[in-house]
């Protein structure tokens, strides 16, 4: 396994540094590099998994079983490419055990809090881009007058600052924010929630809001809970949730759900009260389009446009008097 990890890591590094983001090689060369001497179905299937963990996508022929001489395209996954110029140094390498995974998740976790004028909601978030793009739950950034545009954050290094909400989706219950706190920030690499299996171990990180007043100054405020996946795609009201038994307490909302490789696979958002295996996380792949769009727009565009406080849609176009997505009159809600 160490050989495979080293090879995949080197391959990813070459593509990141090199002029091309894609490379063609034979399947034989890849299998040799990963330390396999034989080609079996399981071995071929593991190529996706191992390289995928390093942010690489592998393109096989799909109309027939691949042969050893098939040319395979290995490329940086689009998201890795999008964030690469700024995030390469800070993207965390996959971990191999839960404690290492938890350490990495803790280092990228932030505390999110509404300003007193907007309400008293607080929760957790995590950084997924070294420039300071973070993810949290939509209900954490929702105050008495809907989704807020600006809120207070505190990073894992205990730096305080403000952040701008740039996208939100109340139904899926996620929000994206750009941190004003200067980077580079420690960020989590994005895993593939499709590969989660029932009974797989996961780690949830969050801030317990009720402990805020009790903890002594300087104490680490994030807490970690571990558990297992009960159902990797529990369909409820048209959304596939990651159902698990990992504890989520008040203040944990918006925190990362991390797999054993230290990659974020979900956003912890809600739970059925009194049900042991009734905790739900939103699979991170629901957010990929929004993450890519906001990485492309960049941090300088964070303050641009109008964010609908009811549906979370951001209007970057010309100034309209109503939300083009849900129709709410802008004047009634604009702060």
């Amino acid at each position: 396994m160490a050989i495979a990890e080293r090879y995949a890591s080197r391959l990813a590094e070459q593509l990141r540094r090199g002029p091309r983001t894609q490379s063609h090689m034979s399947l034989r060369a890849i299998l040799n590099g990963l330390g396999h001497t034989r080609r079996t179905k399981a071995v071929v299937a593991s190529v996706h998994q191992i390289l995928g963990a390093h942010g690489l996508s592998v393109d096989f022929t799909v109309d027939r079983p691949p042969t050893l001489d098939d040319q395979v395209a290995v490329a940086l996954a689009p998201l890795q490419r999008a964030i690469e110029p700024v995030a390469a140094a800070e993207v965390l390498r996959p971990a191999i055990d839960l404690t290492a995974a938890a350490d990495r998740a803790l280092s990228a976790t932030i505390e999110v809090r509404l300003r007193p004028a907007d309400g008293d909601s607080s929760g957790t978030g995590f950084v997924i881009h070294a420039d300071g793009l973070a993810v949290t739950a939509c209900h954490v950034v929702t105050g008495e007058r809907g989704i807020v545009r600006r809120l207070a954050v505190r990073t894992a290094k205990r730096k305080r600052g403000m952040a701008s909400v740039v996208a939100a989706h109340p139904k899926l219950d996620f929000a994206l924010l750009w941190l004003d706190v200067p980077g580079p920030h420690r960020c989590l690499s994005i895993g593939d929630p499709r590969t989660l299996r029932a009974a797989e171990q996961v780690v949830a990180v969050g801030h317990l809001s009720f402990l805020d007043e009790l903890l002594e100054v300087g104490t680490l405020r994030s807490t970690v809970t571990t558990g297992t996946v009960a159902n990797p795609a529990a369909a409820i009201h048209g959304v596939e949730w990651i159902q698990m038994n990992t504890d989520i307490d008040p203040g944990n909302s918006g925190g990362p759900l991390v797999n054993a490789a230290g990659q974020v696979v979900g956003v912890n958002v809600w739970k059925y009260p009194d049900l042991g295996a009734g905790k739900m996380a939103l699979p991170i792949d629901y957010l990929l389009d929004d993450i890519e769009r906001n990485v492309r727009l960049g941090k300088p565009a964070a303050a641009k446009g109008w964010l609908c406080p009811l549906c979370g849609w951001r209007d970057l176009g010309r100034k309209r008097w109503f939300c083009l997505n849900c129709g709410v009159p802008r004047g009634r809600w604009q702060k």
């Binding site: 809907g146 499709r194 009201h237 990929l288 849900c326």
Partner: protein, 177 residues
């Protein structure tokens, strides 16, 4: 409420309300109390022994019928008194592909709903609501009818609407990109 022979002050207040005269604060209080008693009488008639248990500190009565949850209270708007009954249907969806057809369907449903009951949007929630001037609510059965309409209509419609619209059009990618 109008035929309360035992309380001439209330009868007088009701007459003043019907004639559109300016009500004194005592008359408003009398009318509001009588209307709240009428709501409580409805709640007793459907099996709630002690309506006070379902009344909050603002005088709002909380109702439940099947999957429908609603409220009934007496509202004062610019000096006029209204019975206001409202029940929650669902949250407005977040995707335009669902919001636009939902809005149209609600307007089409409003076309056919009899009485004062109609669909409406309050902030981010779809609700069924009925409002009626206290001056035209003559007895307990008038109150009961409005409350009953809202609650039964919500109970009948909420699951159908939720099935169609309480979801998202966003899809997860089939494979890792």
């Amino acid at each position: 409420m109008a035929n309360d022979k035992e309380n001439p002050a209330l009868s007088k207040a009701f007459e003043a309300l019907q004639e559109g005269k300016t009500l004194t604060s005592r008359q408003r209080r009398l009318l509001t109390d009588a209307a709240e008693v009428a709501i409580d009488n409805f709640m007793r008639s459907v099996g709630i022994v002690n309506p006070a248990e379902f009344t909050d500190e603002c005088g709002i009565r909380h109702l439940k019928l099947g999957s429908a949850e609603g409220v009934a209270f007496i509202d004062e708007v610019e000096g006029d008194l209204y019975l206001h009954v409202e029940a929650f249907v669902m949250k407005v969806p977040s995707d335009q592909e669902l919001i636009v057809p939902l809005y149209r369907e609600l307007l089409e449903l409003n076309l056919d709903i009899p009485g004062t009951c109609r669909f409406a949007i309050r902030d981010d929630a779809v609700v069924v609501v009925a409002t009626e001037d206290l001056g035209v609510l003559r007895d307990d059965s008038d109150f009961a009818r409005h409350i009953h309409w809202v609650m039964t209509y919500t109970d009948a419609m909420d699951s159908d609407l939720a099935k169609k619209y309480d979801r998202t059009t966003r899809k997860r990618p089939a494979k890792r990109r």
